[in-house]
């Protein structure tokens, strides 16, 4: 320790060794970040390169704050995320509890459960686009053949139905994130507190409510953190299934940002939107991480 303080050479060595990594990080992360931050402070249009050098301060941000064309997709994203996470949690919990009960074929089921996650979201989007298509989709076809309806239900044409269809595709693809993590939680769960609770007077529901669920919450919060980041940046499925339509009724943050940036070429405005949505993602992450830490605090150190 004392030697390290007295000889300058060994003092600098760690920093020199870190330099290449720092340089790469600066180039790959910091530089683009600064650049995009700068563009969000300009009226930069891809079609007018000169606009990159016009500084307009927080104008983009201020205009967005009062722009319903931004806040409606923003609110829709938050709503979509909330509903998706809650439904996926409930469904994933149910699946995990069921799979935890069975003794035969459990490994196989666990693997099968992962299948949806192995497909590209784009392909899942295409798949559901064809399933939900009102003319040639197998869903309407099946409903009509079974005589449940003789109408063509406009799954991807009606605004609410389209949102629900996207939600369904999203859940089909990703509920297993919850199921897998909650199942891992159930496997790790000690048997003793459950038995103690049963002797203490709990019926099965009370055991679940007061013992199992609190134990699983850290696992649920990990899944929620992962999925909130995932859903908040949702783009591919929406793009493929509805393209944000009909009439912008399924527009989420990132489909809006991509449209603004690439189709309307308003890169400055798009980047300002992107920064606001990043704040949203960070807010969700921090929220779930806090919850995770609070739930985990009790779990340490007790067998």
């Amino acid at each position: 320790m004392i030697r390290a303080l007295t000889t300058r050479r060994t003092d600098l060595a760690p920093f020199l060794l870190l330099l290449p990594a720092v340089a790469v990080m600066l180039f790959v992360v910091a530089l683009p970040l600064l650049f995009s931050l700068w563009t969000s402070l300009t009226p930069y249009k891809l079609t007018k390169p000169a606009s990159l050098y016009v500084f307009i301060g927080a104008d983009n941000y201020l205009r967005l704050l009062s722009d319903p064309a931004f806040w409606v997709p923003f609110g829709r994203t938050v709503l979509f995320l909330t509903i998706a996470l809650n439904l996926e949690f409930a469904l994933g919990l149910g699946i995990a509890l069921l799979i935890n009960q069975i003794t035969w074929g459990q490994r196989g089921l666990r693997t099968i459960m992962m299948f949806p996650m192995m497909f590209s979201p784009i392909l899942v989007g295409f798949q559901f686009k064809f399933i939900f298509n009102d003319n040639i989709g197998i869903l309407n076809n099946a409903l009509q053949s079974l005589g449940i309806t003789d109408q063509a239900i406009p799954w991807l044409v009606d605004g609410w139905l389209a949102m629900a269809s996207i939600l369904f595709a999203e859940m089909w693809m990703s509920t297993s994130v919850f199921a897998i993590l909650l199942l891992a939680g159930l496997f790790a769960m000690p048997r003793d507190p459950v038995e103690a609770a049963r002797v203490d007077g709990c019926n099965p529901w009370q055991v679940f409510r007061h013992i199992t669920l609190p134990f699983l919450m850290p696992f649920a919060f990990i899944a929620m953190t992962i999925r909130s980041l995932d859903v908040a940046r949702a783009y591919d499925i929406v793009k493929v299934m509805t393209g944000g339509g009909p009439a912008g009724r399924t527009e989420l943050l990132w489909t809006l940002i991509a449209r603004t940036g690439y189709e309307n070429a308003q890169m400055g405005k798009a980047n300002a939107m992107a920064y606001i949505s990043t704040l949203l993602s960070i807010a969700f992450t921090v929220y779930f991480y806090r919850k995770l830490m609070a739930a985990r605090r009790f779990m340490g150190g007790v067998q």
Binding site: P190, D192, P193, E195, A196, A197, R198, V199, D200, G201, C202, N203, Q206, H210, I211, P214, F215, A295, R297, F298, M299, G300, G301, V302, Q303
Partner: protein, 364 residues
């Protein structure tokens, strides 16, 4: 408080029978200890009483009520687990009060009972901590507190002290005994440690391989073991066993020497019967260094193989009729390997077992 009755209680896992028809009545307020080697079915029996394990055959009654098909919550018992099984996400106060809360008691009532239990167990300063912030001994206390707040009909303990270090175990043992004297509730206590069994029990149930070997007070089990298994399991060091045959009212050992045991022991033995003579280390002592000097005895000159001084007493390893035997020397005196001493066998305290069945031949 309630009486617990087991009649022909069995436990099967598929074709494997781990508890073979247990008959046992535990009186109201009695402290009964199930003791036996690991894997003999003690926990399984206890868990069947608790309702945590299905009963494959026979009947369990608590307070006269058949509970075979009742879930644990309807049996009004409480249990202390080996690993404490505290609720990790609740603080000590909530751990203690959980059962009462589930039972729908008022907050005032819960607070009163929790404080009462915390007082008895010295947990008053720990109420706001979580289990992760407690030591092993404190967790043990919380587990016991959780059991007593509900004022159950019976306490079930499953090796509650086996995770504690030796010193703490001694303390907690004394506290459990005090606790029982205070609350006077029926207790069924499982342990593999015969010292715990001897010190705590009103009655000991010695088990082996899913069967009861003997039921009796600690003194009955110690002084009159029903068979060789109980004789060697209860007491430390284990009872010395010497094979021999009955010959003219005495036991003739392998080297031909005859040990003149009291008629009380040979009464039920036939001439020529193969027997095992059992005698505890405490009853083989160098002359002048034993517990009892009178009564029937035999004196033998033996040489010391090994001596383990323990302070006020020493454990001496020697050989009788070619068999290693442990003896005790009382009093602070040093002996060395190779020393030749005259030992006195207190034969009135010896035991005689049928060699084939292992059963005691003592006429009770």
């Amino acid at each position: 408080m309630a009486e617990i009755t087991l009649t022909g209680v069995e436990k099967r896992y598929g074709a494997l029978r781990v508890v073979h028809g247990i008959d046992l009545t535990i009186a109201q307020g009695e402290f009964v200890v199930l003791v036996g080697p690991s894997g003999c079915g003690k926990s399984t029996t206890l868990r069947m009483i608790a309702g945590l394990e299905d009963i494959s055959g026979g009947q369990v009654r608590i307070g006269g009520r058949v509970v075979n098909d009742l879930p644990p919550r309807k049996r009004n018992i409480s249990m202390v687990f080996q690993n404490y099984a505290l609720y990790p996400h609740m603080n000590v106060r909530d751990n203690l009060g959980f059962g009462l809360k589930i039972a729908g008691q008022t907050p005032d009532m819960i607070a009163k009972r929790v404080d009462e239990a915390a007082q008895i167990l010295g947990l008053a300063d720990l109420l706001d901590r979580t289990p992760a912030e407690l030591s092993g001994g404190q967790r043990q206390r919380v587990a016991m507190g959780r059991a007593i707040v509900r004022h159950p009909d019976a306490f079930l303990f499953d090796e509650p002290l086996s995770n504690l270090d030796a010193k703490l175990r001694g303390q907690m043992r004394a506290e459990i005994k005090k606790l029982h004297q205070q609350v006077k509730t029926t207790v069924v206590y499982v342990t593999h440690d015969q010292v715990e069994a001897m010190t705590l029990a009103d009655r000991i149930v010695v088990m082996r391989d899913g069967q009861i070997e003997q039921v009796g007070t600690p003194m009955q089990v110690f002084n009159h073991p029903a068979n060789i298994f109980v004789a060697t399991f209860i007491g430390s060091p284990p009872m010395n066993l010497l094979p021999g045959t009955i010959s003219g009212g005495a036991v003739r050992l392998a080297d031909g020497s005859a040990v003149p045991v009291p008629p009380r022991l040979t009464g039920r033995a036939a001439e020529g019967q193969a027997v095992t003579l059992g005698i505890r280390a405490d009853d083989i002592s160098p002359v002048g260094h034993g517990l009892s000097q009178d009564g029937p005895g035999a004196e033998l000159d033996l040489s010391v193989v090994l001596a383990e001084p323990l302070g006020m007493e020493s454990l001496i390893y020697t050989r009788v009729a070619g068999q290693e035997v442990q003896a005790k020397l009382y009093g602070p005196r040093l002996v060395n390997p190779g020393d030749r001493l005259t030992f006195r066998l207190a034969l009135d305290r010896a035991h005689l077992f049928d060699a084939a069945s292992g059963r005691s031949l003592e006429a009770i």
